[in-house]
C-alpha cells in the first residue's frame, strides 16, 4: 500500500525572461519501508520534487497525497504540524541548530511534539547509540565532524518517529568513510524503525545501496527501477 502518492505534479518557476519547468506533470508512488533514491543531473528537479513532497515548496499544480491527505490543501499551520508528525528531513549541509548540543538537537522535535521528558531522554540515548555518537551527546555541532553532524541530523529526523524521511543529497559533503557509515546506519534504521527513506543524490554509493532508483531528467521520470 502506498504511503505517498504524487499525481500530475508540476512546478514552474517564473523567471523574468522565461519560465522554468522544474517538475513536469510527474506521477509517483512510494510504499511503506522503501529505501529509494532519486537521481538525475543537476537541474533535473530532484530537490524541487523532495521539497514538494515535504511540504516545503508549493506545486504549481498536481497533488501530493500522504496517507490519503493532499498536504497542499492544508493551512500553513496544519502543514507545519503535519511535517512535525510525519516527515523527517536530512539536509545536504546538516542544518543542525548551532546553539543546541547533539542531544538537544535530537530532543528538539520531541519537545515540539510535547513528548514527556523521560520518553525524550530514552529516545535520545536510543537514537544517538543507533547512529553511533552516544558519546557526543553533549557536544555542540561546531565540535562535531561533518559525518557526525549528519548522523545527528539523521537521529533528529527519526526522533519524531516519522512516516518517512526525505534526505536531500545527504552524503554530498561527506568523505567516503563517513558516507559508508551513514548509509549503513540509514539502511539499518530503515529496517529496525520501519521508516521509509527517500533520497535525492548524485552519489553512486547511495544509488548502489538504494532498493529503488528513480531517474529524473528535465522534471520527468526517465526510469524507475526496483532492485
Amino acid at each position: 500500500m502506498s504511503i505517498i502518492k504524487i499525481s500530475n505534479l508540476t512546478k514552474v518557476y517564473d523567471g523574468s525572461a522565461n519560465e522554468i519547468v522544474a517538475v513536469n506533470n510527474l506521477n509517483l508512488e512510494f510504499e511503506k519501508g522503501e529505501f529509494a533514491a532519486i537521481v538525475g543531473p543537476s537541474g533535473s528537479g530532484k530537490t524541487t520534487l523532495l521539497n514538494m513532497i515535504g511540504g516545503l515548496d508549493r506545486p504549481t499544480s498536481g497533488e501530493v497525497n500522504i496517507d490519503g491527505q493532499d498536504i497542499w490543501r492544508l493551512s500553513s499551520r496544519k502543514l507545519t504540524d503535519f511535517r512535525l508528525k510525519n516527515i523527517g528531513f536530512v539536509f545536504q549541509s546538516y542544518n543542525l541548530i548551532p546553539v543546541l548540543t547533539a542531544g538537544e538537537n535530537t530532543e528538539f522535535i520531541m519537545q515540539l511534539q510535547g513528548k514527556p521528558r523521560n520518553e525524550r531522554s530514552r529516545r535520545i540515548k536510543e537514537l544517538l547509540e543507533a547512529v553511533g555518537i552516544a558519546d557526543r551527546e553533549k557536544s555542540r555541532p561546531n565540535k562535531l565532524s561533518g559525518g557526525q553532524q549528519q548522523r545527528v541530523a539523521v537521529a533528529r529526523a527519526l526522533a519524531s518517529k516519522p512516516t518517512f524521511i526525505l534526505a536531500d543529497e545527504p552524503t554530498a559533503n561527506l568523505d567516503s568513510k563517513s558516507t559508508e557509515t551513514l548509509l549503513e546506519i540509514m539502511e539499518l534504521l530503515n529496517k529496525t524503525e520501519d521508516v521509509t527513506f527517500i533520497f535525492s543524490t548524485h552519489d553512486a554509493r547511495v544509488v548502489k545501496k538504494a532498493r529503488r532508483v528513480i531517474t529524473l531528467v528535465d522534471g520527468k521520470v526517465e526510469s524507475d527501477v526496483s532492485k
Binding site: 521539497n51 516545503l56 515548496d57 500553513s76 507545519t80 504540524d81 542544518n95 541548530i97 522535535i109
Partner: protein
C-alpha cells in the same frame, strides 16, 4: 522554557556584536538618565527655592489680590483662619506675610524691591533663613531692622548697620516711608530673588504700610511637593469667599512655562538618543535575520510553528534590550547617587550665564524614581517595537527560498 533557552543562547552566538549592541543601550540609558536627573534636579531646586523663599506651595489670599496686587486687597489675619489652614491634612507650616513693592534708596542708588513682612520665628522654622545669612543676624520678632538680599545690598552698596530708605504706597493710598538699619544680609540661592528681596518683621511692615493686622497672604508649606493636589482639594473645601487659594504654579506661570519649554527641548534630545539606540538594535536584528535565514527555514521545515519561531526571535530582541536596559539602570544608580550628593558647582562664564538667567550656578541632580524608570520603560518599548520585525519576518518566510539561502 525551551524557546527562552534557544533565544538566550542565540544571543551569544556573535558575542562581540551582541555586546556592542548591549553597550549602546547601556550608554544610551546612562546618558538619558543622567540628562533627566540633571534636568529634574534643576527644576526641583528652582521650584524649591521659589516655594521656600517666596511663594510657598499654596497661598491663601483675598480673592481680588492676584488680579490687583495692592495693599488694599489684603486679608485680616485671624486665629480662626490660621487654625483652619494649619490644621489641614499634609500642611506642615503656615506663615503670614505682607508683601508689596517699595522703592529702596540710598544716597546714590535706588531700586524697586519686593518688601516682605515676615514672622521671623515661623519663617526660621519653615525655610531656615539663618543658614543663608552671609553677615549680620537674623530678625527677631519686633525687630526694627531689615534683612537685605545680598544682590540688592551689592547694588545699593549697603553693609551691616547701614540705613536703607524705603518708599511706597500704604493702605488706602497713605504714603509709606521709613528708614531701616540693615541687620543682616542673606545670600539667597535664587539669583532673581537675591536681586530684589527685603525682609522685615511683620508688625513693622504692617506699620510701614499702615496696614495693621493685615497680611497679603498666608503661605502654606506642605510635607512634600507631591502633596500639593491633595492639600489643595482639602483646603478648597475649607476656604470660602472672600478668600481664595493660589498654588505656586498658578502664581508663577512663566516659571512653569520655562520648565515646560526646557523639558520639550530635552525630549527632542532624548528622542535623538533613543533613535540612535533603536537603530543600533534594529541593525543587529536585521543582520541576525539575514544571517540566519536558512536556519529559520530549517526550524519551520522540521515542524516549528512560525509563531513560535517569531517568539524565539522576539525573545532575542527583548533580551538584548533588557540586558542593556538593566545594566544601564544598575550603572546609573551609583553615578546619579554621586552627583545627587555632590552637585556640580559651575564657575566662570557658565556660572555667570546661569546667574544672568536668574538661575543658581549649581547643577543639582534628582533622585526621583521616574528619572530611572522612564528611561528603562522607553528603551524597553523601543526594543518591544523592534521585536515585532523578526516576528513579522518569520511569518513572511518562504521555506524553499530560505533553505536555499
Amino acid at each position: 522554557m525551551e524557546n527562552l533557552k534557544i533565544a538566550w543562547r542565540n544571543l551569544w552566538r556573535n558575542r562581540k556584536r551582541t555586546l556592542i549592541t548591549v553597550a549602546s543601550v547601556f550608554f544610551g540609558v546612562i546618558v538619558s538618565t543622567f540628562m533627566s536627573s540633571m534636568q529634574e534636579g534643576s527644576y526641583s531646586t528652582m521650584v524649591d527655592n521659589v516655594v521656600k523663599f517666596y511663594s510657598g506651595y499654596i497661598q491663601v489670599q483675598n480673592e481680588d489680590y492676584w488680579d490687583h496686587k495692592t495693599i488694599n486687597n489684603t486679608i485680616k489675619l485671624t486665629d480662626e483662619l490660621l487654625k483652619k489652614v494649619s490644621s489641614s491634612d499634609r500642611v506642615s507650616y503656615v506663615v503670614p506675610r505682607l508683601e508689596s513693592f517699595a522703592l529702596a534708596s540710598t544716597n546714590d542708588q535706588s531700586r524697586g524691591t519686593i518688601l516682605i513682612g515676615i514672622d521671623p520665628a515661623k519663617e526660621e522654622q519653615m525655610m531656615g533663613i539663618g543658614k543663608w545669612l552671609s553677615s549680620g543676624k537674623i530678625l527677631l520678632p519686633g525687630d526694627d531692622g531689615i534683612l537685605l538680599a545680598a544682590g540688592l545690598a551689592d547694588y545699593l552698596k549697603l553693609g551691616l548697620n547701614d540705613t536703607l530708605v524705603l518708599l511706597g504706597q500704604g493702605y488706602h493710598g497713605l504714603s509709606a516711608a521709613g528708614k531701616y538699619p540693615v541687620k543682616g544680609i542673606i545670600d539667597l540661592p535664587s539669583p532673581d530673588l537675591n536681586r530684589q528681596l527685603v525682609y522685615m518683621d511683620l508688625e513693622n511692615c504692617q506699620e510701614f504700610f499702615s496696614a495693621e493686622g493685615l497680611v497679603s497672604s498666608l503661605i502654606v508649606m506642605l510635607d512634600s511637593p507631591y502633596d500639593l493636589p491633595h492639600a489643595r482639594r482639602v483646603l478648597n473645601k475649607k476656604i470660602k469667599s472672600p478668600y481664595t487659594l493660589m498654588t505656586w504654579d498658578e502664581m508663577q506661570p512663566e516659571f512653569v512655562q520655562m520648565i515646560e519649554a526646557d523639558r520639550a527641548g530635552a525630549v527632542v534630545m532624548k528622542g535623538i538618543l533613543y533613535l540612535v539606540i533603536g537603530f543600533g538594535i534594529l541593525g543587529t536584528i536585521s543582520m541576525m535575520l539575514a544571517e540566519r535565514r536558512r536556519e529559520m527555514g530549517v526550524l519551520v521545515a522540521i515542524g516549528l510553528q512560525r509563531a513560535k519561531l517569531g517568539l524565539i526571535l522576539f525573545y532575542e530582541t527583548v533580551f538584548i534590550g533588557l540586558t542593556g536596559v538593566l545594566s544601564g539602570f544598575m550603572g546609573s544608580i551609583p553615578l546619579i547617587s554621586y552627583f545627587y550628593n555632590n552637585p556640580v558647582k559651575l564657575t566662570g562664564d557658565a556660572a555667570e550665564t546661569m546667574i544672568e538667567m536668574g538661575l543658581e550656578p549649581n547643577m543639582y541632580f534628582s533622585w526621583i524614581p521616574s528619572v530611572f524608570y522612564n528611561q528603562v520603560i522607553t528603551v524597553f518599548i523601543i526594543t518591544f517595537l523592534i521585536g515585532i520585525i523578526p516576528v513579522a519576518n518569520s511569518f513572511r518566510l518562504t521555506l524553499a527560498k530560505a533553505l536555499r539561502a
